[in-house]
Symmetry: C2
Subunit: 319 residues, 2 copies
């Protein structure tokens, strides 16, 4: 039973702030959002839940950064399917006034937490022309939880799965890896445009985004495709943050295992690979890091040609 | 960084258990799910987050009941738009082994909590031919959070909004109201089939589902449509649970204010209303409870014809 102000005021605020979008015929404020779905016979859908204390802490993260990340990780998933994001819905568990979690969020009320999150969501949504279509607003005495679902359309040659890597394929990655928790996990650019350019210019075989760690996510592709791989150790693009870490693990280990890089990892036929190496299709760094081989598992090949098993390590929630 | 078993094992279990669906070309286990979207140019999308201690407690709720409810509330929203649900994605925050929340869930681990939830989700999804398309699995030391997003297609005359009530319309509800927390909120049947039958047989004007309370949700329709209403006090269908409550509030107050009834509340032109009264289109109880009038606000009319203002009370999250 209600106390008058609260949830509905915040929803009204979202509704006034949310920008109109050509694909959105019913937005925030009804039982469900209505999207026009003209260009494609297929719909992509992905969801990610971010929890305070697990995926972010405030500080160092700000509320707009948390909102931005909650949308960005989903845009990264749509990019990883080779798709175009269209719309997002946002479900919130907001810490109630005076709760410990609200205090850590640096906000006096769930209302101001909601508005702070929306700023980051809305800015990124605008940047990628994504409609903020609706959501669900709740409050409790627990930590902040933000759950974003994104719908997308299939582009180019259709959805790019993890299971279509072929023996002989070249393996590529965008960007660099490791040490994301030092900052990149809050500010990364989801590789939506890069994925759409790749869809236009070549025939992508398998693709995923690196969220669990380069090693872990490569193993996902290998297992789904029933193939193996050789990765060129010296080719792995290692981020500055991985070089700066001083916890006893090498920069390479950070690059292979840290996760939350949100870069694209994909395979293409050798002729397409040569084209990408010769004529990089965008400014974002693109690196040829290995080859798909018959069999299973992944070998790391060093400068001297020696092979060792790539350890499968990365982020996984223990249950 | 991972400890080996955990999240991925549970996801594999979901993947093996999830049933194939004609509309699902890529299901659990890739970056995003892919749905075929042939019949309609419009997509409906709705999301609801259920939090342990707010929307359910365990006990008395069981894990399958919680999973079922998390899907059912979304099916109710799709029904309220006059749509047909197609697919669901599920994001989970699972209490970690030995956490207090896990203990209250009566489960030894997040893994068994996930499986328990899935049972209830899967059974209801199967009943309404909804594809369980994917999700996101996380664990923490906090309470259980279940966030379900449902996609649907528009049926019949298109999406039924809250804003299309017309002066002179008759107001109808399915089912009966009040006391839902005594049990119905965990076991209700979302009115999907009823909404689709109504779409076929008549021209629905405004519709919503009653989640916040009959009074509150009727006010939502009135405000969105810029109209008023007169509700016939003696016509309000009051549930047995509302009659059995003994907290000093009358059964009528329970029926008008309790919320979580998940019944349809809709308006139609008088000639369609007469048809519904004369030839009820389904076995589910259908009651003519009032009329839309010019102006604003809602009057309650008693047996003697006396009018009083219907208090706007119901569920709202205070922030």
């Amino acid at each position: 039973v209600s106390n008058g102000a609260g949830e509905f005021e915040l929803i009204d605020w979202f509704r006034r702030r949310a920008q109109p979008h050509s694909r959105l015929s019913v937005g925030i404020g009804d039982d469900a959002a209505v999207l026009t779905w003209l260009r494609s016979n297929e719909a992509l859908v992905t969801v990610d839940m971010l929890m305070q204390g697990v995926h972010f802490t405030i500080p160092p993260a700000t509320l707009p950064q948390v909102g931005r990340k909650a949308l960005a990780v989903n845009l990264s998933d749509i990019a990883a399917m080779g798709g175009r994001p269209i719309a997002a819905v946002v479900a919130l568990a907001l810490p109630r006034t005076h709760s410990v979690a609200a205090e850590f969020a640096g906000a006096a009320s769930g209302d101001s937490i909601g508005r702070g999150l929306f700023e980051g969501i809305d800015e990124l949504a605008d940047q990628f022309d994504v409609a903020v279509a609706g959501g669900d607003t709740n409050s409790w005495d627990g930590p902040l939880v933000v759950c974003v679902t994104v719908l997308g359309e299939v582009a180019g040659h259709g959805p790019i799965r993890r299971s279509d890597a072929q023996v002989g394929d070249w393996i590529f990655v965008t960007g660099s890896f490791g040490g994301s928790l030092a900052g990149k996990h809050l500010t990364f650019e989801p590789r939506v445009r890069e994925a759409l350019v790749l869809q236009q210019q070549i025939a992508l075989h398998a693709m995923t985004d690196v969220s669990d760690g380069l090693s872990q996510d490569l193993y996902h592709i290998l297992e789904e495709s029933s193939v193996g791989a050789v990765v060129f150790e010296e080719a792995i693009p290692i981020s500055d943050a991985a070089h700066m870490a001083s916890d006893g693990r090498t920069p390479l280990e950070h690059a292979l295992e840290d996760g939350e890089d949100f870069e694209l990892l994909f395979t293409v036929a050798p002729q397409d690979g040569r084209q990408l190496v010769t004529n990089p299709p965008f400014e974002t760094k693109l690196t040829w890091i290995g080859e798909i081989v018959a069999g299973s598992g992944c070998q790391l090949r060093d400068r001297l040609g020696r092979l060792s098993l790539l350890p499968r390590r990365g982020w996984e929630h223990s249950l």
